[in-house]
């Protein structure tokens, strides 16, 4: 029983460590994706010259 409890405690500890380590990169990735959406919206607005065909 003690061994089982110790195993789960270690597993929880390891999982938490991994999640904490990953969190900054996940946040950075989400910020990057949010910025991409903002760029997409900002690109639309403006005055354009008459079209030219290429």
């Amino acid at each position: 029983m003690k061994t089982k409890s110790l195993f789960f405690a270690l597993l929880m500890f390891a999982t938490t460590r991994v999640l904490v380590a990953q969190e900054p990169s996940l946040i950075a990735k989400q910020q990057q994706l949010d910025a991409q959406w903002d760029v997409f919206l900002s690109h639309w607005e403006g005055s354009y010259d008459n079209n030219r065909q290429v």
Binding site: L33, Q36, W37, V39, F40, L41, H43, W44, E45, G46, S47, Y48, D49, N50, N51, R52, Q53, V54
Partner: protein, 157 residues
Amino acid sequence: MVIKKIELPAFGDHVFYGEWQAYGKPNKVTRQRIYNFVRENDSTFRMNLHIFPMDSIFKAKTSGAHLHPDKLKSISPKDMYPLAGCDVFFKPGQNHFQGAMKKGDCSFEAPNTGTPIYSWSQMKLTGDTFEYLDGWFNLDGSIYYEISKEWYVFDKL
């Protein structure tokens, strides 16, 4: 062509008004559009587009709305020409966004002939240009009416 962000909650959260003028005649409006953009997910951005009805009184009332957005305050999607299946789906690329309609979804009957056809538009957006290419196709994919062989390119001023 002018594209201006406007507040028009009846159409959505990210709404833009587009007005196209005839070459060399800025007072002659040839096209009016409302674009609402929806973030489908992190890599797909949907353009829900609305075409104004071909009604000269409506056109006169709403032209120049990029300068006077109040001209649009009483309109809703119900006032627009219906365009089911004509949304354009954009994917982020390297310094650009590439978009296209879902092939075959923007279907309707051709004016005059009544032939069942579909429109297919492709678009490309960068910080400096907006480009598009479109055409009308028979349901088997053959060309019904080719609007252009080449991409139209609009440079931002």
